[in-house]
Amino acid sequence: MAEPPAWTCHPRGTTIDIAALLLPVLVFAPLAGSIAAICLPSRQGTEAAWLSGLVAFLCLGISVYLYLHVSHRGVIAWQVAWIPQYGLNLKLRMDGFSWMFSGLISAIGLLVVVYARYYMSSSDPVPRFFSLFLAFMSAMLGLVLSGNLILMAIFWEMTSIVSFLLIGYWYQNGQARDGARMALTVTATGGLCLLVGLMLIGHIVGSYDLDAVLSSGDAIRNHPLYLLALILILAGALTKSAQFPFHFWLPHAMAAPTPVSAYLHSATLVKAGIFLLTRFWPVMAGTDAWFWLVGLAGLTTLLLGAYFAIFQHDLKGLLAYSTISHLGLITVLLSLGSPVAAVAAIFHTLNHATFKASLFMAAGIIDHETGTRDMRRLSGLFRYMPHTATLAMVASASMAGVPLLNGFLSKEMFFAEAIETHKVNLLDTVTPYVATLASLFSVTYSIRFIHSVFFGPPPRDLPKVPHEPVRWMRVPVEFLVLACLIVGIVPSLTIGPLLHTAVEAVLKDDTPSYSLAMWHGWNLPLFMSIAALIGGVILYALMKSYLANSVEGPPYIRRLEGQRIFERVLVALSWRWARLVEAKAGTRRLQPQLRILAAASLFAAAIPLLHRGFQPADIVLRGIDPAFAFVWLIGMACAVGAAWQAKFHRLAALVLLGGAGLITCITFVWLSAPDLAVTQLLVEIVTTVLILLGLRWLPKRIEGATKPEEMTFGVRLRRLRDLLVAVACGLGLSLISYTVMTRQMPGTISSYFLERAYFEGGGTNVVNVTLVDFRGFDTFGEIAVLCIVALTVFALLLRFRPASDSLEKPMQQQVQNDFDDRHPDRSKGDSISDYLFVPTVIMRWMFPAIGMLSAYLFFRGHDLPGGGFAAGIAMSIGFILQYMAGGTRWVEERLRIHPLRWMSIGLLVSTATGLGSWALGYPFLTSTSRYLHLPLVGDVPLASAILFDLGVFSLVLGATVLILIALAHQSVRAPRAHIRAPRPSGTEAS
């Protein structure tokens, strides 16, 4: 039973392994239920509760059924290959231990659903609660059943995220938000550490498979990376299980609805850490590092949690700290490294889940029926709710470790283990004393819980008149308390076999002999228990009057709160330090940013090139066409001129830039690349116009610093440095490009494309066929990026607030409007429409012509220069002309311009084309082509890639027009009055 039989992993042959097939059902049924529940209207809470109840019942049923298989076969496993190259498989695996947890999760889940049905108020969006609840259940089941380390980390993160949502369920409540955020920050940070730790383990073992990991304990313990992996995994487990010093998030998570607390903090979320520690116990425990790290955390938590719990006034706060303390107890047991202690840990995990879930539910009932959870206000409730009181008393007696209850059994085992000597050191020596003291405290807070709530004088001025809850709200508590009693009285007949299955799964051959009997004779653990019980009662009697009136929290160290430290750290990290870094290292001016960017890229390119011995190719000047050289000379002059004018005369720089672009375009024609030339020409036009539109919004020059008389040495030095950086970047880039382009081409794929373009892609334009067919997936990614860029530009310009000096209308417009205002027979805007009278007509009439051109470019694309991209850009030029001719308002009154829609349609069409080939059984984006004979027109090439190209067209058009209208709408928007600064005199419009 120790080694899983091979056939369980791959059910093959005649027998269909139903048990293995039930594992994914167990994990994914709650997830499906969660999705179904969120679809319910927010008023249908009862339906959602029924749904969740059924799902939980199904899970419980499956768990019960699987017990037969697990106890018989040891391990059942189900797996599908997910990304097998990386050893990541969707593997679910159930052994006795994970069976115990899945039973616990689904059983307590079912009880909590019943409870929550009556607890939740109908004014809350109850389906959302149940949806999250089921999602959490799915995550927990996935975590305990995952048979792959990475999968485990994924489910671990899922529990963190869903618990965040559950704790913050009442998001209108500030405490709930803070508690949820804190829980997420702490547990997700731990989760990140855990992921790294699990990857280290995977690296050590050479496999992420849990079975492989569990069978290579010695390899892990003796590996040099063991300590690092241990610390990282402990960071994950201890944060999740709220162990000192990460315990502070748990009390704040009590802002969640009580059913959530009853579920998360008894049986599930906080037990995930315990689960992990126990899971890896056989392969990681037993070393000194484990003993010290786990033991110290556990012992501190055990004592501090119990001590803090005494001083809580909130019922749930008391239970939260008690949970922390009990988790500490389990951690201490796991730290000891002895098999019997591991048995006790597993046993206490079960027992704690039962009594703590029932206590949380009882606290919820009290809160629900009285309206408060403050123990100073509650008193004498026994006479109002005797039933609930009795149940709570039994459960808290179990928490205190009173004989005849299950809590007593595991506590006795704990004491017995505590007095054993495991390692000879200080920690081991103090353990029994700390254990007794913590147990004494736990007796005190249990008595306080019962005495202050149920006994004493009748309560005064409660928000509600207390009474017994509805019958079904009590049933889950009754059930759990009954379990406490039965397990406590006849352990070996009830829980014994189940526990043994779980223990055997963890310990395998090391399974010790242990006795679950209640009576072990007069021995030291019993005396420790008696001492703790008597001491606890005395302590409560002494502290009763202090507690009735004290402030919340333990004396003296009240202010030393984890939460404060946490918030301080957060504020320091995310606010002060961030601001400091921004102030010291950040700048809002473009020039330093560009300088850093250019210099960084220069170094990033130079270091590897120099390091690996970059040999620039010899520059050979041979066979140069004088005309071509002359053209290039002009281009270079344009480029240099643009750089020279960029600072002082933006318009001139832009014109020169356009000149350089045209030379590039001519170069493409010269070198027989008509496709590139067409695209370059169109792109050049569009970018020039768009930048022209943007020029008006650029801030004016900062006056003063660059006056000729102030050309100090420093300014000259800075400019020289900038020049050097720019020249170095440019030279380096040219050198690299030249070297790459003059290399002898080895057998590349370009010849492949040339040969196959027509026969396989069905087009003679190799560039276009490459774009839409061979490298269709690249193009797909590129258009998606284009989409993102356009949306980003749009979003940035949407929130754009121009500098105060460019808020006013440009001087030209002002002069024109003044002129129009001065003449009574003219209205505003007449001047501009006079100026543009004839051009406007021509520009408007050009729209259909440009549309035709675009269509022409599009349809010839597959065989001749053109294509979707060029067509889209051409079409957008048509729109730009309309905006220029008629103005924003005129165009948008007449044309339906929905660039976002065009973009999304484009992306959808491209995706659908790609998926279409999937539907026909080909890989993504496979295209077919044939010629279609049309009367009059003749043979029309028709490739499915043209649909893809249509998507490209639509997206490019949408993206360009989106940027255009984002710019155009700037001038339509009325700037807010209060940011209109007085216009500085003497500034010249660019």
Binding site: M811, Q812, V815, F819, H823, Y835, L836, V838, P839, I842, M843, M846, A849
Partner: protein, 124 residues
């Protein structure tokens, strides 16, 4: 590049048209360089370049029609759009220059208010 196999009867008009077109373009470029005022300079590139484009397009039409043995009309579209759009550019550049000169109060150009008054007088 391969040597085009153009028959002599076609090569002659093509050569003449090409040379004329190139001469036009050159004249336009010289004009842009030599003419004195902006308004005068405007005409050189727009007029002469339009002419050059038309001539060269005609040459191209003949060449490829003969070579491919079919009628070709693509160039007609180029000529048509050239004829329509070049004046627009001319007009806009001229208007912008006029506007600027007026705004700067130059004596060289007629004042806008004067123009309006003349218009009004004509209407009366």
């Amino acid at each position: 590049m391969t040597v085009l196999d153009l028959p002599l009867w076609a090569a002659l008009p093509v050569c003449i048209l090409l040379l004329l077109g190139a001469g036009n373009a050159l004249a336009g470029a010289i004009g842009l360089l030599r003419l004195k005022s902006f308004y005068a300079r405007l005409h050189a590139p727009s007029l002469m370049t339009s002419g050059a484009t038309i001539l060269i397009c005609l040459a191209s039409m003949i060449t490829f029609a003969v070579l491919q043995n079919r009628w070709i009309f693509h160039e007609l579209a180029i000529i048509a759009f050239m004829m329509i759009t070049t004046p627009v550019t001319l007009m806009m550049l001229g208007q912008a220059a006029l506007y600027r000169d007026r705004a700067e109060g130059s004596k060289e150009v007629p004042h806008k208010e004067a123009g309006l008054r003349e218009e009004a007088a004509v209407e009366e």
